[in-house]
């Protein structure tokens, strides 16, 4: 009897054991660390958003904010709006993006698809890397010394756009380059093997595969240049009036409006500064949304 039971027992009891205290402690410590870091990172973000939203909301709720400029409005009057600066920010952002995006993407395509390994491409990549790190004030001074001092053009929104181009093109080149490099060569070969020429392979197979990454890079670039202040201060004087002409005269944009109104001690100045800040964040968010939609349409799908 007892021997049977003896036989049915496994020779050795299963050696699975509970999680050791040491591991439990490490796990707990790591979880706490990670959660703390998350909180530490999120607090300032939420704080900034809350501050900007709560202080800027008042301006944004006035209908005039979206349709009027500050022309003829006195410093202490809570009247007028940011239309002139909103127009300036969007116009300058679009002009810059419309020029920088095609140039940047084409350069990126050249570097990865055509020039790969050549000396010229390596030099270009190196130059682009350096340019990505150039401070905006340096780009502004360069444009000032060439476009305004040497060529003799006057300060204008377009001069500002030129400085923004110097900042944005390298960013677009970099992100395009990186995204194209991760497209597997197998896809290019699959396309060549169907008798599809190289340029069509690039346009119809390689770029769509990399598109969402490229769009993200472009959006980061747009967000950055829309917030740039230094070039605007140097290359384009603030104007409280609406100026539609990017080639002539001074024009506002949202960062400049903030700089201007920051020194206005009245309550209206406070409202305008924070209103402009909130407006800028909203505009960049809208651009981001639009870009997300674009990249969704042609992103890599598996489901």
């Amino acid at each position: 009897m007892s021997t049977e039971l003896e036989l049915e027992r496994p020779a050795q009891p299963p050696s699975f054991q509970g999680i050791s205290t040491g591991r439990k402690a490490k796990n707990l410590a790591a979880t706490v660390m990670v959660s703390l870091c998350f909180v530490v990172a999120v607090i300032p973000l939420v704080w900034v958003l809350w501050t900007v939203a709560s202080r800027g909301m008042e301006s944004l709720l006035r209908a005039d904010w979206w349709s009027h400029s500050l022309s003829g409005v006195r410093a202490n009057e809570d009247l007028g709006g940011a239309y002139h600066a909103i127009y300036g920010t969007i116009a300058q952002g679009l002009v810059t993006a419309v020029i920088a995006v095609p140039i940047g993407i084409l350069v990126g395509i050249y570097l990865v698809e055509y020039g790969a390994g050549t000396r010229f491409a390596r030099v270009t990549t190196f130059t682009v890397d350096i340019l990505t790190g150039v401070p905006s004030i340096v780009a502004a001074l360069f444009v000032y010394s060439v476009w305004i001092s040497i060529f003799g053009f006057s300060r204008s929104a377009f001069a500002n756009c030129l400085a923004l181009l110097l900042l944005m093109i390298p960013m677009v080149v970099r992100s395009t380059e990186e995204m194209l490099r991760v497209v597997p060569n197998e896809l290019r070969e699959a396309s060549y093997a169907l008798g599809i020429p190289k340029w069509k392979t690039i346009v119809k197979v390689v770029i769509p595969t990399a598109l969402s990454g490229i769009v993200t890079g472009v959006m980061l670039g747009v967000a950055r240049i829309m917030g740039e202040t230094a070039p605007a201060l140097i290359l384009m004087a603030y104007s409280a009036r609406i100026n539609m002409d990017i080639f002539e005269g001074s024009m506002a944009n949202l960062p400049l409006l903030m700089v201007k109104e920051f020194t206005n001690p009245e309550a209206a100045g406070f409202n305008r500064t924070w209103g402009a800040a909130l407006t800028l964040i909203l505009i960049i968010m809208l651009f981001n949304l639009a870009a997300t939609l674009v990249s969704r349409l042609s992103a890599v799908k598996t489901k």
């Binding site: 060549y192 093997a193 169907l194 008798g195 599809i196 197979v205 890599v300 799908k301 489901k303």
Partner: protein, 258 residues
């Protein structure tokens, strides 16, 4: 359709590295030719030089001639794009275009070459998917992305994509090596069917596979590390596997090979 291939004194290089030397062989139309041999002996390299895919790699070049029904695909003024349209290729790892639906994958070759006629594209799509034995499995989800299929289905999708442009020759580089046995059988059956219409050259690591699907077999070998690979012999598959004329072939087939 189906054309014959004659390779004469083909030497293939990657930059300074001489990868394959002096290959001479013929592939008759409507037949399956298998390339076997140890890893690194240059099977893929020879295969890729049959449709000028080799030169896509920077620094890669070939010497010698490859005749397609008598016309040299390396002749002066021959457009490699045109060559690849006539000689299609299926790769080792299934590589459907990730941004395209199943339908768009199949007709990619035609659509990117400029065919716009929707009805014609749909016809080609169905015909090619049927030809690749995939139609029944995917006919209800043609608009779903090709990346969502199983490995074996993806490989058949790639075959459908390759035959959709109606090439004369189909090159396959270890098309089953990433697949499970069932999918492998499906593809082998398919190869036997495709033989009716195409000239097929297939690289395989699997000697049973070579014996099952091919009419003639070419054995490639290496004579040493850093030496170029060579074609040891090419003969009817039954001869190669029962009574090869070269000692090296026999050693390899019977597994006496390192």
């Amino acid at each position: 359709m189906a054309k014959r291939i004659d390779v004469k004194d083909l030497n293939i290089y990657y930059g300074k590295f001489h990868a394959v030397e002096n290959v001479t062989l013929s592939v008759p139309p409507r037949s399956v030719t298998a390339f076997i041999g140890p890893s690194g002996c240059g099977k893929s390299t020879v295969l890729r030089s049959l449709n000028r895919m080799h030169e896509v790699i920077p620094g890669a070049r070939v010497d010698g001639s490859v005749l397609l029904d008598g016309a040299d695909i390396y002749g002066a003024g021959v457009d490699p794009v045109e060559v690849r349209r006539t000689i299609g290729m299926v790769f080792q790892r299934p590589n459907p275009f990730p941004t395209m639906s199943i339908r768009d994958n199949v007709v990619a070759g035609l659509r990117l070459a400029g065919t716009k006629n929707r009805q014609q594209l749909d016809e080609v799509c169905e015909r090619s998917l049927r030809g690749a034995n995939l139609w029944e499995e995917v006919k209800d989800r043609l608009n779903k992305p090709g990346g969502g299929l199983s490995g074996g289905q993806q490989q058949r999708l790639c075959i459908a994509r390759a035959i959709a442009v109606q090439p004369d020759v189909l090159l396959m580089d270890e098309p089953c090596s990433a697949l499970d046995p069932i999918s492998t059988l499906a593809i082998e059956d398919l190869i036997t069917e495709l033989k009716q219409d195409f000239t097929i050259v297939i690289v395989t690591h699997n000697m049973q596979q070579a014996a099952r699907v091919s009419d003639q077999t070419a054995f490639f070998n290496l004579h040493g590390v850093g030496q170029p690979g060579r074609l040891v012999e090419i003969d009817e598959t039954s001869r190669i596997f029962s009574n090869p004329s070269q000692r090296a072939t026999e050693d390899y087939i019977s597994g006496r090979f390192g």
